[in-house]
Symmetry: C2
Subunit: 193 residues, 2 copies
């Protein structure tokens, strides 16, 4: 398995030695995926946290009215996975879909306990990771309340300048909390400037 990317990612936050790297590699599972493949379906038992080793994926959830809401896009070098189900609830509320072909590295929930207790450094790594995610999430929340749809789209473009090659516009609209029709109009308006 090619674990260069994930090891480099971890090493940015904590320094891990060979024994630690080796143990991590021993519990990771490679999971290739194809474009448009439904990798995880909501209601599945959440057995893994996922690291994107190559390609693009997205997570979304389906509300009571049957509408999908995109929660996250994840590119190479990102973690994904339903934290909700990883704490109390055994089943995911989110689905995960491949946007391109690519590869996930799966960290089994069943091995997490041993990983953390044998090597507390990984616990630290995830503590810092969650902390960083929380910061980003908090910013996104404020932006969602504060900015107009147009401003949110412009920010999105700055953050993910190339991702729209892989993603249908309606998913971007969903991620940004607006209708596809309105995103279409918004794009037209921006282009005409």
């Amino acid at each position: 398995m090619n674990s260069e990317i994930i090891l480099a990612n971890i090493n940015q936050l904590v320094q891990i030695n060979n024994a630690e790297a080796y143990f991590l590699e021993s519990i990771l599972i490679s999971r290739p995926f194809r474009q448009d493949e439904l990798i995880i379906n909501s209601g599945d038992i959440a057995r893994y946290v996922m690291f994107v080793n190559a390609g693009y994926i997205m997570s979304f959830y389906t509300d009571a009215d049957g509408n999908d809401h995109v929660v996250q896009f994840a590119a190479q070098n990102w973690w994904s996975g339903d934290l909700f189900s990883l704490s109390d609830h055994p089943r995911t509320i989110y689905s995960t879909k491949g946007l391109t072909e690519g590869e996930l590295l799966l960290l089994p929930r069943s091995a997490q306990e041993e990983l953390f207790s044998r090597f507390p450094k990984f616990e630290r790594y995830f503590r810092i990771s969650f902390q960083n995610s929380l910061i980003r999430q908090q910013m996104r929340l404020i932006e969602g309340y504060t900015l107009t749809a147009e401003e949110r789209y412009i920010k999105f473009q700055e953050k993910f300048p190339t991702i729209d090659r892989y993603i249908a516009q309606k998913y971007i609209a969903s991620y940004l909390g607006m209708t596809p029709e309105f995103l279409s109009r918004t794009r037209k308006k921006i282009l005409s400037k």
Copy 2:
């Protein structure tokens, strides 16, 4: 110092022994606050993470146009504090204000490192705490995009049924991402049902 509440809170996620409890107590600082007191001003150096031992506080940030946005209300038994400044940035972007009189327990940033390395159990505690916060934050994000202002206010009331005794309506409006005028109309509409 009365550290019953914080110890009980921690014990819900990890089992700590006397030595661990004792060390934690030795680094916590009591910080009473009064109603309307500005406890932390944005731009201050973020030296502490705060635990609410009694009373209510709120965190807010002031945008480029000078408008305040309420980010969080915290009641007894909640953590607060600017995570952003606790990672890379030394200065807070949020301000914190007392909504009632009360007491904070401050965990100094300078002691965090020692706490975590001597007792990894606390690192675990914060890992799980951040994870849980992230879940809640993610839900709030989706709700912010999906629900109408009226629905958000109803959810807020269910979640904090008594808090409006302590908080000016304009702060609730800010937290929920709407204008005070519109919240006023919304409340009237709900009452007339």
